[in-house]
Symmetry: C2
Subunit: 420 residues, 2 copies
């Protein structure tokens, strides 16, 4: 292991004029960190291209790359895909995969998923754990997390001490910078120091974030984000989440708690939301909103025993079979989804919006009608191509890969702050 | 003049991996530009503090500061406010005020306002021009702009050739990067190459933007933004606009057309908006929305001749006098304003929201009830101080100062791209 982070000293709050959180692409982001990020996002890139991209002299880049090579974070190899006229192939820089192992863990209601990756982000092993869908204590959740972590390490033949960082994500409001859990639908408790409790239990540095940011990081590191500077991700599952990438970096909001698109109000005094307020977007389109409507409109006998997922399945089957009440439920939810997406377009104007979630099979919510309505509700920006929309039905493993990206970011951030 | 920008070559679209627009704080922002921005925002600052803030070695900063001193963009003076133990006062860097003159012009419905400032942003002269409030041609608007510009230059004893850049702002949708007017309530035309037409007429480089971004730049350069990294500005006048500062820089949206908060939908199939769609936030709270309600609920005889401003004045007087219908109009508009502000909080979580506009005298819209409702509609982020709200009743001159800041940014950007 070349990379070590001491548990507890990650992500301390910024003070005064000093370095600020690197994820905000602030002035405190060191040039060395920017060089590393540039190589990471490119996959393989020459020194001269790094210099061009960062607008810094080749001599400075050579010096910084030298430091990163010495630290064992980058490697250089002859780039076989290009040759110069002199016959000597140019040298491409890439991330040194052996620089460290990290683990990404996505916690969700009924299943936890863990993934081991190398420093270049390549998956090496995975594990998952089925669990109760009841709200439970943080202690119980951490015990489950420990179980899936140890299963994963056992499969890979590694010890906890071999792991440079664990990225841990769950639904809810998570303060990434402070490492604090504000609220999660998985938990009976609120406002707990999640990161330090996890670090104490696992003896490994931990980074925490909400699940919408995980899937956004997965897109940023391993998906569309390698090529796009700005895009938005909207997740629809038990709640509605949003991640936003600005200029190749995840934007977490000024307060580091994430962008709560699901709780933006789309109707004054509207439908009741799980958060206790009224008129939130997710009160019209999240799973629980559809289940609530299904239990009103359909023959809902036995719904208490079959649970929400079965109820949703039943609603979808009935809509497909032509039940008008079921169709009306999906149609309205689809219109509100279109409204939510149009609000994202009107505010951020991203060139791409990725809709992600497990339940993409409910195609009533994602059909052409919804995209058409979104365009109608968006401002006409003359002469511009219409917003591109993609739906990615990622399973838990992609979210876990995002958690691994979170851990890799943490290593890069530690390096930026001179903690390596 | 030490600073010159050739008309027409400003803001060319980014290509490939090369430098991107500096306002997006991209990797293409050169370190020299970052040094200049750091000095500009600090007012006066030492080399060592610049090095600390940017996370770059003091030696690199000294070299870059040397270049900026040679270009005549920065100056250094003994910092009388601090002395070292050795008795020699440290040297503070500041922007060289003689580096160039710029003009900021705010165009609005009934009055255009122009301001001359030096390179450090200090106002030197001002001028304004009353004009018709009818929609008119772009040619007519540019003639009016030319008149107010020449009045201003006459007062200052300057020629057009003495001006390094003109910042020009107006309400509507303006594509800053492309210099294109998409739509404005002032104009009968849409989709016109505003910047190049203005440059052809004035013979001076021009930068264009929408008015909400102007007031945000004014706050960033001369107001609260000197101390705050992240804040939002919401403008309420004929329309509803928004500006967002992330990490000390104006964020213009991925497409450079600005953040259209006024056209985010707050009710599906709701009130009709000027844009032709329904349920937009501004269809509930902008001037025209209040006028529309006033003309329905009040004795509106003669409103056609007195115009919107008189009608609004009358509505406000009646509410103050106890007319319940008038009060209900303000109360509802206030609740929708609270909802719009809460959506800004839920998405961005800025530590400060500044509400700006000329019509702050309608205190029904800005009273404690509205702030209270905004807090009720915002997610409870445990352990966090509630969002700070300020109302700034800036007149046209402050907006013109923002236009001047736009022109100064353009100079700094030209420098970053090596065009000086």
């Amino acid at each position: 292991m070349n990379v070590e982070i001491t548990p507890g000293d990650t992500g301390s709050p910024p003070t005064g004029c000093g370095p600020i959180r690197p994820e905000s692409e602030g002035p405190g982001t060191t040039l060395r960190h920017r060089v590393f990020e540039c190589v990471r996002s490119a996959g393989a890139v020459s020194r001269i291209d790094v210099a061009k991209q960062l607008g810094v002299s080749p001599a400075s880049i050579t010096a910084l790359v030298g430091e990163l090579l010495d630290l064992g974070l980058l490697q250089e190899r002859a780039d076989a895909s290009r040759t110069t006229t002199r016959g000597r192939p140019p040298v491409a820089l890439s991330v040194q995969p052996d620089a460290g192992y990290v683990v990404g863990i996505k916690l969700s209601r009924t299943r936890h998923t863990a993934l081991l990756v190398d420093a270049a982000g390549q998956p090496l092993a995975e594990a998952s754990l089925a669990c109760s869908d009841r709200r439970r204590s943080l202690d119980q959740i951490l015990s489950e997390t420990e179980k899936v972590l140890d299963t994963l390490l056992g499969r890979a033949g590694l010890q906890r001490g071999d792991i440079a960082c664990i990225g841990l994500g769950m639904p809810g409001m998570i303060d990434h910078a402070a490492g604090r859990l504000v609220w999660s639908p998985l938990l009976t408790e609120r406002d707990r120091p999640l990161r330090s409790l996890a670090e104490d239990r696992f003896g490994v540095p931990v980074a925490v974030d909400n699940d919408a940011n995980l899937v956004t990081l997965a897109e940023l590191w391993f998906g569309k984000g390698r090529a796009m500077a700005d895009f938005a991700v909207v997740t629809i599952e038990q709640g509605v989440g949003m991640g936003l990438v600005l200029n190749h970096r995840l934007y977490r909001g000024a307060g580091s708690l994430g962008m709560e698109l699901g709780h933006t109000k789309v109707q004054l005094d509207g439908a009741l939301c799980k958060c206790g307020q009224r008129g939130c977007l997710e009160a019209y389109i999240a799973d629980y909103a559809l289940v609530r409507e299904a239990s009103t409109a359909l023959d809902a006998s036995g719904s208490g025993s079959t649970g929400d997922e079965a109820m949703l399945e039943q609603l979808f089957e009935q809509a497909k079979a032509g039940n008008e009440a079921a169709r009306v439920i999906f149609r309205r939810a689809g219109r509100f989804l279109a409204l939510g997406l149009a609000n994202v377009v009107n505010l951020f104007d991203p060139s791409l919006i990725i809709i992600a979630g497990e339940r993409m099979q409910y195609d009533y919510l994602y059909e052409d009608d919804v995209i058409g309505e979104m365009h109608r509700l968006s401002l006409n920006r003359t002469g511009r191509a219409p917003q591109q929309i993609e739906t990615h039905a990622w399973g838990d493993l992609m979210w876990a890969r995002g958690a691994a990206a979170l851990a890799l970011s943490e290593i890069a951030d530690a390096m930026a702050e001179g903690r390596t």
